[in-house]
Subunit: 306 residues, 2 copies
């Protein structure tokens, strides 16, 4: 397993600005791209980011507001024009299927690859792969909306090849047994797994809020994340606007991050009313030290502790 | 009547580039904005251009390819978020109604103003207003597509108020008669309209090609335009690609402009494959001298000869 890259492809809320496109963030994990939300125009940032046109790709839509899903249409078309042939899996609440199927029919898209649509029907595991899973939790927004977590499975500890070689143990299934916690007997001698293998390496956990008010449910859902990407549409002086529109303030996002015991908070989805984003960052930092502001095309590397 | 402004809101074909968004051009004419096509992301250029959020607005969609119509969704939503209350009229082939109605239903848009959809059912007058009309002509593209002309009606000549005053003619309907070509009798004396009123002032004609191969039909449709906005997706060395995809080359656009006896040609809708657009301009200029390349946010002023 290697480092992950978070690439922000749009960081404005509702209305794009000259500096910020509409919501989208990609997690590049090995040979796979996981995209969360696809606001209008995100394809331009996607092209600019050069993260790869033909890689394995899954797209998760937090909710069916235009500024989070309309960019899917252009992205799908452009990937096709660029000759993609790998299928794309798209996950969202059931309306996503209607949105894609109707538009593909009406605009008469011709795509060079398959689009597989998965309807998310509630909370829990959205997809489970060999070494990670994506889970969903209800957000608290003005329409049905999900937050997501990417959770890598723990991996066995580092296998000390030099140690087994020193003991003269020949290569084979026995190596795997030792790495996976099984003690073995070799030439009458008991060999303990712990002596050969380091402690299990925990998987990383990345949370993505989508659009939401802060809730206790989400505080638990995001618990102990390595990175939490949370919306901070408003400054806390505009809390009434945040409540009305079911969004969060920077203060609220930071408080949730603190209560969730997460390691790093990245704020995104800023209202176009704020020309200067610096006060959003400083408001959050008063509560939670390790906070960053996402700008379009910002890349955050999430290292993997070996 | 005053000058018109052409404002380019997107000049790339099919795939956006870092410099060029997808197709859209606005004609600002007095207090009204006429928009032709609305490719994804054009709302960002629209906001940037500051041509006005609450002005009278009509939008004409040449054809229902995603890169010409998907931007409608974001534009409508943003205008609503910005508090527009004036209705918007949208014109396009019948599928436009399905596209808008389905998306408004599925994404559950809440708009602060009325959207009036007009289905264009063939060639001829699309809309006739007090002092101009918009006409349509079939283009030659890979799906049903229209080209449009904006044609201002001729206005009566300049009325020489000083001359009628000198003759002692009192204000009233008689002034309007004289300006509109009627000779009158005043105190037994015959007063000729021509002596009081200058020659009729011709309206301007602006042509918009949308996506098309060049055709004789369009050469006639655009005849004598003051300005022709024509697509030049390809260089002529890529003529085979132009034929395959039902687009035009710069050479072909210039030849059509010449044969149409138009005054000024503006090329747009460039394939993302060309990093440098200068060869498109020089290829066209060999055939037609008064040619310009449109870049995003370029403004062309179309003066009104008094």
């Amino acid at each position: 397993m290697t480092d992950m890259k978070l690439v922000f492809l749009g960081t404005s809320a509702a209305i794009p600005t000259l500096q910020r496109g509409l919501s989208s963030v990609a997690i590049v994990r090995g040979n796979e791209i996981l995209i969360f939300d696809a606001g209008e125009g995100m394809q331009t940032r996607f092209i600019e980011s050069k993260i790869g046109m033909n890689k394995k790709m899954k797209i998760f839509i937090t909710h069916m507001h235009g500024d989070h899903c309309v960019g899917l249409l252009g992205l799908l078309q452009t990937l096709s024009l660029m000759g993609r042939n790998e299928p794309i899996e798209i996950f969202g609440e059931p309306t996503i299927a209607e949105f894609l199927n109707q538009n593909i029919r009406i605009i008469n898209f011709k795509l060079s690859y398959d689009v597989i649509i998965h309807k998310i029907s509630g909370e829990g595991i959205v997809i489970s792969e060999k070494d990670y899973k994506i889970t969903s939790c209800f957000a608290d927004h003005s329409k049905l909306a999900y937050s997501f977590c990417l959770e890598e499975f723990d991996r066995p500890g580092i296998f000390h090849l030099d140690a087994v070689k020193r003991l003269g143990i020949p290569e084979g299934k026995i190596y795997s047994d030792l790495q996976h916690g099984k003690d073995i007997t070799f030439k009458g001698e008991k060999i303990s797994s712990k002596g050969i293998t380091g402690p299990p390496r925990p998987g990383r956990k990345i949370g993505i809020s989508g659009d939401t008010r802060p809730t206790l449910k989400l505080t638990n859902f995001f618990k102990n994340s390595d990175v939490l990407i949370f919306e901070a549409t408003f400054l806390h002086k505009d809390i009434e606007k945040a409540k009305e529109s079911f969004h969060s303030t920077a203060f609220e996002a930071a408080l949730l991050a603190k209560n969730s015991n997460i390691k790093k908070l990245i704020l995104t989805h800023f209202s176009a009313r704020y020309r200067d984003i610096a006060p959003i960052e400083s408001e959050a930092r008063k509560i939670f030290e390790n906070v960053y502001i996402a700008n379009d095309l910002d890349v955050f590397i999430i290292t993997y502790t070996k």
